[in-house]
Symmetry: C2
Subunit: 127 residues, 2 copies
DNA sequence: TGACATATATCCTCTAAACATATATATTCA
DNA sequence: TGAATATATATGTTTAGAGGATATATGTCA
């Protein structure tokens, strides 16, 4: 993908260009489904879910965590025991777990849509 | 999906909420791959590709068409023959066709990511 | 004690979608 | 024949979400 090629038009949207859907919320919910965690650990760890490469932007993670907590999808508490600075540990709530279920359904639906689009493309490839 | 339920938090991101990736550009490119077309026809027709329900918002279609043409992915000409008002007919350029190829690759990649995420979920469903 | 690591957090900017609005020509119908 | 409707085009504004920048605090280590 030559998005960074200097003679690539800048205004046109290219696959993987900025602002693609990155499923940050669903990745956070998933991480907390597996195990309670804290911001910094999430920043480093959510790339395992495939939508983010390397470390997630802190801005995204903390904003999402705040929103999620305001809306009751996660809860948090300070943990001061253990090594290093105090950590704010987040835990998934039952409602958060339910929203993750919805995300999974949404993703399944998205997969169908994408596969259908690809099929249309292949059926028209020679035209 | 209870997004419209009045006691659903409004600030939290829910699947299918506003601003999800809608693949308008790829849908337009696909439509023009199949057959040259004009704005109004695209508005009515791109729902066939699955990402838009009903008629696409005119604002989205015309803006995208303008951008696509500015960047050489499509070309257009006025067609005044035939019934009804004059139509501005758009045709896919070779570069546009190439970008559609990239979109297809991007989508295949996205499918893999989504399926992987779903698999992680199912592997952790009982925790 | 300063450099570095861990850990948290907010603000600003930009992009893409949603929404609103407008105009012009052609066709239909009372 | 004129108003209503359909076809066809287009732009401006607002909103939501991602990207980027920046800052602060505590703990660890050389």
């Amino acid at each position: 993908m030559s998005r960074k090629n200097s003679n690539t038009p800048k205004k046109s949207r290219y696959p993987g260009a900025k602002k693609t859907e990155r499923y940050i919320q669903s990745s956070i919910l998933m991480a907390l489904k597996i195990r309670s965690s804290y911001g910094y650990e999430l920043i480093k760890g959510i790339s395992q879910f495939g939508f983010v490469e390397g470390q997630a932007p802190p801005g995204m993670i903390y904003r999402h965590l705040r929103d999620l907590e305001e809306n009751g999808l996660v809860s948090s508490e300070w943990q001061t025991q253990g090594a290093g600075p105090a950590k704010r540990v987040y835990r998934l709530t039952p409602e958060g777990s339910e929203v993750l279920d919805f995300w999974i359904e949404y993703m399944k639906n998205q997969v169908e849509k994408l596969l259908n689009f690809i099929k249309i493309y292949q059926n028209n490839k020679m035209t």
